[in-house]
């Protein structure tokens, strides 16, 4: 078998030593990796050298445009195996949270295609398990080769995208292309375990993602935004708290355990909401301040430091019908669904055979979310700003609704009623007290949060739906009927079957009848030499 891949090891001092090569046997095992970091693995594929190395923290780092190289789990403490993919990878994982709260990925099978459409099982293709902390998995964001999985098993370019909760079992079938994994097809249950189905999405060049990878853009101040975060009572302070701390906070300011009158603190509570984004943890604090008062029972994991966070998922190449011709824009529709906004019907001519790039930014103070959609089509790599769309992704915590019971305990005290007499029917009490009671209610949501509160029930995936009609092609179609041309020149420029719009037949002598006959034949289609 031909040698496809050669490996070289480079130690921290830059000394390289060859390790061997890989034939089409797909898997190469190596022993003894240097314990001095950083060190590098270099490999040469099709004449180009790539570097796979580990940084000082032993995190794997890859060239952004490297071909698919699957770093299989270590079979022993000193043995490493690599699988290289030249064309298409079929892989199936099972994701779930195990009983210990760890996020687990089981590799069910792995098949690769070297370009000949023969899918070969990868040797030692039994079951590999990837484990990482659930908090990291719950990002719901692509895990390519990141440190989240490094200490256990690394599955390169694994696209994990799911809301996972303890006890959930999700099955996805990532359909990798040669390059970054960009798509996941959530197949019907009956098809999930069939290794025969693959939907190859061509277009966008050779499918290799050439960008700098998923990136966190401008985490922090963004021009045009002002910050109102200012401690010490002169502005708003945004804490990030866990649900139990939020519960404690509400219990404190609506209950009677800490304050004689907590209306001041209720009014100082401007907003409480959840975002579909994992805010970066900061220094944990014990006790937070509200209206300059320390509430010791409430811990916070962080202050929201970044008014605006933005994120750019990978670019998605689009083929459309797969024919790579006018069917991509005549017989194909492209619909982008943006959570918190809705559907966007894309102009097929703007995206067919090109790529779409969605970038979004979330205002962490209000939940406002803005999408920027960039597109290009097959004929022009230049991306344009197709549109921008905005919505609100915050989910307000229904403070006055959920915590009615302690609230009405307060009310009953104010009204001089026995608490037990009113708890059974808070609605009736509200009616009886009328406007006076309503003025007692804390005025929350003054942070500009206007949005439906059922956001979590809505589809939360940014997805691009492509619907294309089936095109019927027959053998030798162009030989019999040609394809649209609209080119000029002389008749002799063309070869094979050709139909003409018009031909200038005044360069030679023939009768009118003969020229009419010639024109009829040329318009009807002739076979030019």
């Amino acid at each position: 078998m031909a040698t496809f891949l050669t490996f070289t090891h480079e130690n921290a001092q830059g000394v390289r030593s060859p390790l061997g090569s890989v034939s089409a046997g797909l898997v190469r095992s190596f022993g003894s990796r240097s314990t001095v970091y950083p060190s590098a693995w270099r490999y040469t594929l099709a004449g180009k050298e790539y570097v796979y190395y580990t940084d000082s923290a032993r995190n794997p780092v890859y060239d952004s445009d490297m071909p698919n190289i699957i770093h299989l789990p270590e079979t022993s403490a000193s043995t490493y195996e690599y699988v290289y993919i030249l064309d298409t990878l079929r892989i199936q994982y099972k994701y779930y949270i195990d009983s210990t709260g760890k996020f687990r990925v089981e590799l069910r099978y792995l098949q690769i295609n070297l370009g000949d459409n023969q899918f070969r099982a990868v040797p030692n293709n039994t079951m590999y398990v990837v484990t990482l902390d659930s908090g990291q998995a719950l990002e719901g964001i692509t895990i390519f080769d990141g440190p989240a999985v490094r200490d256990n098993k690394t599955v390169d370019m694994c696209y994990i995208s799911a809301v996972v909760r303890t006890g959930d079992t999700l099955n996805y079938w990532p359909a990798f292309m040669s390059g970054w994994g960009v798509d996941i097809f959530d197949l019907p249950e009956s098809e999930r375990y069939k290794p025969t189905r693959s939907r190859y999405i061509g277009g966008g060049g050779n499918g290799t993602y050439k960008g700098t990878g998923p990136e966190q853009l401008n985490a922090g101040a963004r021009s045009g935004w002002f910050s109102v975060m200012n401690g010490n009572g002169t502005g708003l302070t945004y804490y990030v708290v866990a649900p139990v701390d939020f519960h404690n906070f509400i219990a404190e300011i609506y209950g009677t355990t800490l304050f004689v009158s907590s209306e001041k603190y209720q009014r100082a509570t401007v907003a409480a909401y959840m975002l579909p984004w994992h805010l970066l943890p900061g220094a944990a604090t014990t006790g937070i301040y509200c209206a300059d008062k320390l509430i010791p029972k409430v811990s916070s994991t962080a202050l929201i430091g970044d008014r605006v966070v933005s994120y750019a998922p990978p670019v998605v190449p689009l083929a459309g019908s797969g024919w790579g011709d006018f069917n991509d824009w005549v017989n194909t529709t492209y619909t982008l669904y943006l959570p918190f906004y809705g559907r966007v019907n894309l102009d097929p001519g703007a995206v067919a055979g090109g790529a779409v790039r969605v970038i979004f930014a979330i205002d962490t103070y209000t939940g406002g979310i803005t999408y920027w959609l960039y597109t290009n089509n097959r004929n022009d790599p230049q991306q344009i700003l197709y549109g921008s769309y905005s919505g609100n992704c915050a989910v307000n915590m229904p403070i006055s609704g959920v915590y009615q019971s302690p609230l009405f305990s307060q009310l009953s005290a104010v009204a001089g009623l026995a608490a037990g007499a009113v708890v059974q029917s808070p609605g009736a009490i509200l009616g009886a007290f009328g406007a006076g009671v309503q003025s007692m209610a804390p005025q929350v949501d003054r942070g500009g949060l206007v949005n439906p509160n059922n956001n979590p029930s809505l589809p939360l995936q940014i997805r691009l739906d492509v619907c294309t009609k089936n095109v019927i092609r027959v053998d030798n179609e162009t030989t019999y009927t040609g394809k649209p041309s609209h080119n000029s020149g002389t008749v002799g420029k063309y070869t094979g079957y050709t139909e003409f719009y018009d031909v200038e037949l005044d360069g030679f002598t023939a009768s009118d009848q003969e020229k009419a006959e010639i024109m009829r034949l040329l318009k009807g289609g002739v076979i030019v030499g």
């Binding site: 909760r165 960009v182 300059d292 005549v330 649209p484 010639i518």
Partner: protein, 145 residues
């Protein structure tokens, strides 16, 4: 006496450059008062008379109708001028705009003859998942630190 070159061709009528085989030159006569676009020629009998369907006379190409045997032991062919082959050089040099071509086409142009089924294939590309399951609640207060 004009000379006719008889051929056999299996080319289609719309071929600009027809492949000709079996060239046989023979003396012929035109019958009187014929249209040069559809002349009739008379030849002395020869045994292979039925093997030809194409002819060249005086630089013009003709299709041959099936031959007729006439009185006096002659063979007669009614001919029809092939304007494509006869004026081929002029046609090839003629400026034109091509509508459909076997080669040199533009696949981005809409093809009205494309057969398309009403049904089709749908697929989805998932770009990003949002999730609220981060166990994080943002709490905005006045008078914090």
């Amino acid at each position: 006496m004009p000379t006719v070159t008889l051929y056999h061709t299996s080319a289609r009528e719309n071929e600009l450059n027809k492949a000709l085989t079996g060239a046989t030159s023979r003396a012929c006569k035109f019958i009187e008062n014929v249209d040069t676009g559809r002349p009739v020629i008379i030849l002395d009998y020869f045994a292979e008379y039925s093997g030809f369907n194409y002819a060249l006379i005086d630089g013009y190409y003709y299709y041959l109708d099936p031959p007729e045997l006439t009185t006096g032991g002659r063979v007669s062919y009614t001919m029809r001028r092939d304007v494509l082959m006869s004026y081929r050089a002029g046609i090839l040099a003629a400026p034109c705009i091509a509508a459909r071509t076997q080669n040199d086409f533009n696949s981005d142009l809409y093809d009205q003859r494309q057969a398309v089924e009403s049904g089709g294939t749908n697929y989805s590309l998932f770009i990003h998942d949002f999730s609220y399951a981060h166990n994080q609640i943002c709490l905005a207060v006045i008078g914090g630190k």
